[in-house]
Amino acid sequence: MRHLVSVLVQDNPGVLQRVAGLIARRGFNIESLAVGRTHQPGLSRISLVVSGDDAVLEQVEKQLNRLIEVIKVTDHAEPHVERELALVKVSVAGIEERLEVKDIAEAFRARIVDVAKRSIIFELTGDSQKVSNFVEALRPYGLLEVMRTGAVGMSRGEQVLRVREKKAV
């Protein structure tokens, strides 16, 4: 089973290494990891795509929670938005291929961000499946480079990842 997990962290130096190290050390399988700042100073957010059964997912969440700088972990089982960004450079030999490739891109609502004599770079956002489908659709034309950011996600509606109120110990 594939799970999208969001992790709110304090963005201290080394926090990404801690998260990545833990995942590797415990032998969890991750498909992707994306990280970026949030709107709140000092807080970053990591999105992980993990594969495994429920027990594995539970351990991933619990082990992540053990990290001091991890503030909150959620797996997006609830309705959520998932997006991934990809840049795909395809080789295009002749005019015919160029048109075909553009048709495919249009069907996927990909944007052209670079055009050269023998190549085009497309930019695509969507869920990871859509990105994969797009990449596969272009494969026959000759993929030169593919860069995917990994999926990022967010719950729909009011539910948010936030710093819990301080609890007495």
Binding site: V9, Q10, G14, Q59, Q63, R66, I68, E69, R164, K166
Partner: protein, 561 residues
């Protein structure tokens, strides 16, 4: 005041009385400040000795143990001890120097990525980059090390930070939004646990190292309910070993009664333990008749990690055991007890007497002579298991060994730390000839401190535990386990350090030797030359289950009467 002085001031404010350390280039400013500090420093002879001594201190006292090392090689010598403290949930704070910040990342002299390297072996670690952060970071480190599930925290101080002028404040607030350990178990879960116990026909209470601070509550719970109690290797002493309700230790070299009790139990209440594979054996065959497993742990990640748990209780062992004790009722389990008593009396820990001196009798003699009133440490191997089997621990924090990591060489430094933590108490280190040689340089530290530590080297001339496995599982091909032809004369070795050294070879002289060791004030080393080919039994082979338990040494069953 410079950063170094601020480090010591902050440590003082944490109540630190002793630091186990070894100086070197990048930590020199802090050693300079130490010169004027009321904090006592114990100069160990190897940084590994320092971190283990801090661990022994912490385990014996319940307070945070502190060790210190220089950058690069000094800090890296801490790694084994940090992992040891991590696996046995011990509060330790390690302080390391590092090269000045402008040299970090340049492969400078004695530079190592200590924060990177120690990340997986600590509960948390820090590198302080701003001198004014010192009080906050130290306060956080002690808080993290000593609360929740305790563990080691390392703080790395680049040399320029130690030298910079400190202009900050020591009044700091700890704000760790991602760290909120849960102490009070959920009342509903405690209620469910009590209900399950009420219905249990064959219950057992398993107690681990996480309950060493909860001995009074465990005792109350056990006495009130009449439940049989099993103490893991790390839990020995958290419930009295001589109590009639105690079934002893479970696992690979545990008692027949404890392992069979777990195997047949219908309800298991586990407090402060993590179902290590040395306890469970093959997990799919562990406790096959238990319809209810109640697992109490302060670390939520331990619950459900290995064993299916029906009633999870996240909370502090002391608090939860206290609540359970309040709600517990007398159990009506006479039939179960009759069965347990039978196993207990039929299969106590025992050994076949031989004409040679034997480890088991040496340990038993010390237990009898001290009436159990000692703190005991050990190395790792057969002697460790014999100590766990034949010294009965009636008090918490009286048995300090390396359970999770199984680190040879901890015996002596643990003993030094424990003796400093509990002055006035007798400390005995039952060590192996192999293990002892891994950290024996700390004899110098012991000599200097003149502590009441009795080292008993159970010299079997072998890496005995490995030899035992080769005997049982590798067709007696004794590959690289023979020590006897090149072991030192241990008594002479001790004498070379100015420590009284004794040698015992003759069984008949055992009582006399024990008397002599205990009568001598200050440190003594007794080398007991014991039978070479002893085996530790019972034994559940790795990956086996309770039913696979080998109760007696198969070699002796053939050769014996």
């Amino acid at each position: 005041m410079n950063g170094a002085a601020a480090i010591l001031k902050a440590l003082e404010r944490q109540g630190v009385e002793v630091i186990f350390g070894h100086p070197g280039g990048t930590i020199m400013p802090t050693y300079d400040a130490l010169y004027d500090s009321p904090i006592r420093h114990v100069l160990v002879r190897h940084e590994q000795g320092g971190v283990h001594a801090a661990t022994g201190y912490a385990r014996a006292s319940g307070r945070v143990g502190v060790c210190m090392a220089t950058s690069g090689p000094g800090a890296l010598n801490l790694v084994t001890g940090l992992q040891d403290a991590l696996m046995d949930s011990t509060p330790v704070v390690a302080i390391t120097g590092n090269v000045p910040q402008h040299l970090i990342g340049t492969d400078a002299f004695q530079e190592a990525d200590v924060v990177g390297i120690t990340q997986p072996v600590t509960k948390h670690n820090y590198q302080v980059r701003n001198v004014n952060d010192i009080p906050r970071v130290i306060a956080e480190a002690f808080y993290i090390a000593s609360t929740g599930r305790p563990g080691p925290v390392l703080i790395d101080f680049p040399k320029d930070v130690q030298l910079a002028e400190f202009t900050g404040s020591f009044e700091v607030e700890i704000d760790l939004p991602g760290y909120k350990p849960t102490y009070r178990g959920h009342p509903r879960q405690i209620e469910r646990a009590l209900e399950a116990l009420k219905k249990a026909e064959r219950p057992v209470l398993m107690v681990g190292g996480g309950a060493q601070h909860a001995a009074a509550e465990i005792f109350a719970l056990a006495e009130r309910s009449g439940i049989p109690v099993i103490t893991t290797l790390m839990g020995l002493g958290a419930f009295p070993g001589t109590h009639p309700q105690c079934l002893g230790m479970p696992g690979m070299h545990g008692s027949v009664a404890a392992n069979r009790a777990i195997h047949h139990a219908d309800t298991i209440l586990a407090i402060g333990l993590r179902f290590d594979d040395r306890v469970t054996g093959k997990i799919s065959r562990f406790a096959p008749h238990a319809h209810t497993i109640i697992h109490v742990d302060i670390d939520p990640a331990e619950i459900g990690k290995l064993v299916r748990t029906h009633i999870p209780v996240v909370g502090d062992a002391k608090w939860v055991a206290g609540e359970l004790a309040k709600g517990a009722q007398r159990m009506n389990i006479g039939k179960w007890w009759a069965q347990l008593e039978e196993w207990k009396t039929k299969h106590p820990f025992a050994w076949k007497p031989k004409p040679y001196l034997q480890s088991q009798e040496v340990i038993q003699a010390f237990w009898e002579a001290t009436q159990g009133q000692a703190i005991v440490t050990s190395g790792v191997g057969q002697h460790q298991m014999f100590a766990a089997q034949f010294f009965k621990f009636d008090r918490p924090r009286s048995w300090i060994n390396s359970g999770g990591l199984g680190t040879m060489g901890v015996g002596l430094p643990f003993a030094i730390g424990a003796a400093l933590a509990r002055p006035g108490e007798l400390v005995i280190d039952f060590d192996g000839d192999g293990s002892f040689q891994m950290t024996l340089q700390e004899l110098a530290t012991l000599k200097k401190l003149n502590l009441n530590v009795k080292i008993v080297v159970l010299n079997n001339g072998f890496l005995g535990m490995v030899r035992q496995w080769q005997d049982l599982f590798h067709a007696r091909r004794y590959s690289e386990v023979y020590l006897a032809d090149s072991n030192p004369d241990f008594a002479k070795l001790a004498e070379a350090y100015g420590i009284k050294g004794l040698t015992l070879t003759d069984k008949a002289q055992l009582q006399e030797a024990v008397r002599e060791v205990l009568a001598h004030p200050g440190p003594v080393l007794l080398e007991a030359r014991v039978y070479h080919e002893e085996g530790v039994f019972p034994m559940i082979p790795a990956g086996g289950a309770a039913e696979d338990m080998i109760i007696e040494n198969p070699r002796e069953a053939v050769a014996g009467d």
